[in-house]
Amino acid sequence: MAELVAVIASTHHPFYYRASTATGEDRPPFADEWVRKVEAFRETLTRANPDVLVMVGSDHFHQLWLDNMPQFLVGKAPFYDANWYNEEREFGLPRMVMTGSEDLSSYILREGIDAGFDLAFSNELRIDHSITCPIITLRPQNDLPIVPIYTNIFAPPLPRPKRFVQLGQTIRELVESWPSDQRVAVIGTGHLSLELGGPRQFGPHGPDPEFDRRAVEWISTGDIEGCCADVTLDSLHLPGNATHGFMDFMLMMGVAGEGRKADYVDTYDLFHTMEAYFTWYPNGGAAS
């Protein structure tokens, strides 16, 4: 069977690419420390020596739209073009192309549907910064096949938080039962507290530092029970109007497992939002 060699949860900050590549007067004062933290985080994936990446993210009204909105969607294609005109325009993100692991996509779709998730699929999916940001930060050589999985954290009605956790638990079971000798890493990105298009946006910190502190505690200690007791679709409006992206972190807690402490934790308090980086090694850490 395949081996789950790393579980990684991260924020996806679309400004990292521009900040980290800027020079001279254009380089923001927080860039050097940010790059240092990202490169240390990257090492936690490199050490796991994966062959294939399952990438959990959320389309930001690029290809998925309100006339036909899936709650959970799995890409199944040999290639994925990536990043969109408005992401070039606003964030300076480059166009990218990734290869796909169609075998693992097929397995996740078939077995996931049989496990009770009526997963949508796409055979021509252009992915956006929720998945390209972690490629840029964690695997900039972009040399591994991926399975993109999109969740709806954006367009109500949304699945409830517990459903994200359950999908994460199911993804783990499917990866570990995939009849393959591949080494698989599951990487998912979301947000801590975040406000977009509202009165609390672009402040000196994330809109709710206390929520961020509690969120980092839940994730780093694997406290799924405590997190689910406090987090509802309604409560996620309070820390910031885009905080439903935190449910992708809850999905990743489901992949990592109840009570499973993260093996690597780092944060970086930036304007607008707090960055947060977590890695778990399901089989105890050291990669082969």
Binding site: H60, F61, W65, L66, D67, N68, W84, Y85, N86, R89, E90, F154, A155, P156, P157, L196, G197, G198, P199, R200, Q201, F202, G203, H237, L238, N241, A242, F271
Partner: protein, 119 residues
């Protein structure tokens, strides 16, 4: 009221560089043109297929035609769509994060719970 149609306007204009400029320069004319020719176009579908029933409420049309993004927020337009398009149109007129911070200030009178964005 059609929050969906507000969002459809923001979504279709934001993805087209020429429409971003047209809406920046002539908001009223762009909204009139869009509602009469584009509002009912089915996206991601056979070319030329259309719906028959979509139109703006007067308040929605007025908010779009005046670039009134606080009013769009109040009407329940999706804040990500509004922000993204208005950054594309007006960030260039400010230094740094000046536009984003002005945007926040102009919405400062809203408190929780914010207007419902469900469509």
């Amino acid at each position: 009221m059609s929050k969906y149609l507000l969002n459809k306007f923001l979504f279709t204009v934001d993805r087209d560089p020429s429409l971003v400029e047209r809406y920046r320069d002539d908001p009223q004319g762009t909204v009139e043109w869009w509602e009469s020719t584009e509002a009912n176009r089915l996206l991601n579908c056979h070319t030329g297929e259309s719906s028959t029933w979509l139109r703006f409420a007067d308040a929605e049309r007025e908010a779009l035609a005046t670039h009134d993004y606080p009013r769009l927020f109040e009407l329940g337009a999706h804040p990500f769509l509004t922000l993204t398009l208005f950054i594309a149109m007006f960030e260039r007129d400010h230094d740094g994060l000046g536009f984003q911070l002005e945007y926040a200030r102009r919405l400062a009178h809203f408190s929780l719970p914010y207007p419902d964005i469900a469509t």
